[in-house]
Subunit: 433 residues, 2 copies
Amino acid sequence: MTDAAGLNVQLLLTGDELMTGDIVDSNSVMIADALMPLGLVLSRKVVVGDKLSVLVKEIEWITEQADVLIVNGGLGPTIDDLTAEALAQVLDVPLEEHAVAMAQLSAWCERRNYPLNGPNKKQARLPKGVGIIENPVGSAPGFKMIHSGCLIMCTPGVPIELDAMLTSGIVPQLKGMCDQAFTQIKKYQVFGMGEAPLQKIIEESYPDWPQEIELGFRAAFPILDVKLTARSQAGIDLLPVWQTKIESTLGAHSLGEVTDEESTGMAQHVVTLLVEKNQTLTTAESCTGGLIASKITSVSGSSNVFEAGVVSYSNDIKHKVLGVSQKTLKQHGAVSEEVVLQMAAGALDISGADYGVAVSGIAGPGGGSEDKPVGTCWLAWGTKASLKAVKLFFPSNRAYFQDYIATAALDVIRRDILEVKETPRYFSNKKPS
Amino acid sequence: MTDAAGLNVQLLLTGDELMTGDIVDSNSVMIADALMPLGLVLSRKVVVGDKLSVLVKEIEWITEQADVLIVNGGLGPTIDDLTAEALAQVLDVPLEEHAVAMAQLSAWCERRNYPLNGPNKKQARLPKGVGIIENPVGSAPGFKMIHSGCLIMCTPGVPIELDAMLTSGIVPQLKGMCDQAFTQIKKYQVFGMGEAPLQKIIEESYPDWPQEIELGFRAAFPILDVKLTARSQAGIDLLPVWQTKIESTLGAHSLGEVTDEESTGMAQHVVTLLVEKNQTLTTAESCTGGLIASKITSVSGSSNVFEAGVVSYSNDIKHKVLGVSQKTLKQHGAVSEEVVLQMAAGALDISGADYGVAVSGIAGPGGGSEDKPVGTCWLAWGTKASLKAVKLFFPSNRAYFQDYIATAALDVIRRDILEVKETPRYFSNKKPS
């Protein structure tokens, strides 16, 4: 597989620690990120432990297919650092002390006043004939060579060293190999529309979806990331038109285009909107148990828009703190339209906030009934002058239920502030009757 | 390469999002962790994008070498989910609707009152003749088959679904394939002791630490997992003695040995203890903004021990709801010993709970002063008859600060219930003076 820039780039990561579950591989994300602006996407990643025969076999196999192989890890001073030895076997050349590598290594030790010991010197013993990739921050030099028409670049596993080497040596070389940057990406955060229904809507609405624009989804529960990727000039030219179409399909389910790398999330959106309008919010939570407040206050600057929240888990507290009438509780039960409306009104009274939101539901696993099964939740929201309520149904495990309901509670506030007219799709999730 | 248990196990991860740097692969860590107690170590991991021909080639190549291949990802409802199609090509059989898969899928949709639409149905179209691996939590069933003497098991990419499937279907099957378990692991959850200080204490206290017992750490902030692993009979024989030693080193910083696969976490411990003692807890939160309450109520059954929590972000609410005196607020400021003590007392009064905990601090990034820099937090806790307070200092980013303080707030309650005499190490984190 080659990508838009016409190169098949593969990655080989080595290290026992990557196999045992002791460590999460973040280097491959760093490498993929570095390649992206060049229009390059990794076509394959292979991860193996520190075994010489396995490494040799893997390198031989990959170099038969790939244009570029980036090897990451195994350049250190210890006996389980085997990359140089493996490459020597693949190239069928001896290992020998590399003059340029040795000079860099000596300079590095000297700057730190470290003795240049045996294990360190091992890092300068490289397959005969390779070129050096300078390591601006660490002791292990990188090295490169061509084998079977494949450019092999060997890089250190230490993230900070890899990062420096990508910037100074690897990306510039690959840039020269690519003609131009072809990739452009547009990304949206979506709440309240699942991947399957969205896919169906898009298939039905746009049978003529152009193949130049890849449509991708990532479920970052409860948010769905929707991504349009163009990897060619034709795709880039088409992008604005199809952006408009997808935006109209998503409607207010979209939190907007994500322009930077950070996923901002629902709470950030709500806090930003409240700050803009100079308004405040309060919460009264039963089944979410503080999660709505916690999401809001995770945003820095939220103290400007949020003064008070109440977690009223018991009926007694709903009455005592929020002023829900005992009669209502008795007559309708805690999970009811009447109770959430009174909870929201109570929280607005206590706090003097502009917007209030209240939830009461059954998170499970226990507590469900035929009439109100696990997953049922009443949600009330709005201003003192205009409180609304809706019954939601989201049967799932406890954590997912709480996260979804807390996000929905923020979403209805977001929609109110934005004066959205359309009804969110999740309002119509109903329990089977 | 085969491991101690005599099996060559390989992993194939699929998904464009794993190639582009959009996502860090944590599933392979989950799989490696699940295999570990069986004495199984992955010999090779391969990651590829959503391209049918690439998947087919990869599966063919791996099944030639491996005894077990776990395929992860590509089981979803969308067109870029290609695992079933790839396997059908490898096995040279057609895709057809699988009766068992269809029944599971229908039941899943019915429980949620979702229509069973085309994209969903796709998840039940599997290569002819495969067996089903039940998915206890999601819509995509897993499936398995044998090809070229290699057991292939296809699993979903959604972490929560993978986790459930590993426990219920995959590990039991692999267990049967291993002759015996060579590996024994003892794991502890630790709060309030960092990896570096703990490592130093252990090195100094136990210079004779046996090489048959591996000592491992994994930071699952704010909890540190400490793991003793014995991979030989000699190690297993030595384990009880060294378990006792490490337990005495950790003291009450350890939440106890983790005996099952689930990491229980601090809140679960506290809820379990409260249930055992038939006692209740209340919270009054400023800087953690509901996170303590949210952690407690994330535990199922917490409604038996938690009735009320107040998020009092503003001084006004601290006074109005919790009864903190205006004079105290003015004289000492919101982040003070006096205020947190009154907050805790107020929450105890409102709720009638047995234990109360209150926090007020500066999460940052704004709001710090020379006297009370970002990271400062006053914590009060105890019973109505005995309230204590301590100043903590944990300068970090906002999310880490909130998580650490919320966990510490639960930890002091845990220590109170357990009547621990020793002072936690984090009480002595002070700002440089």
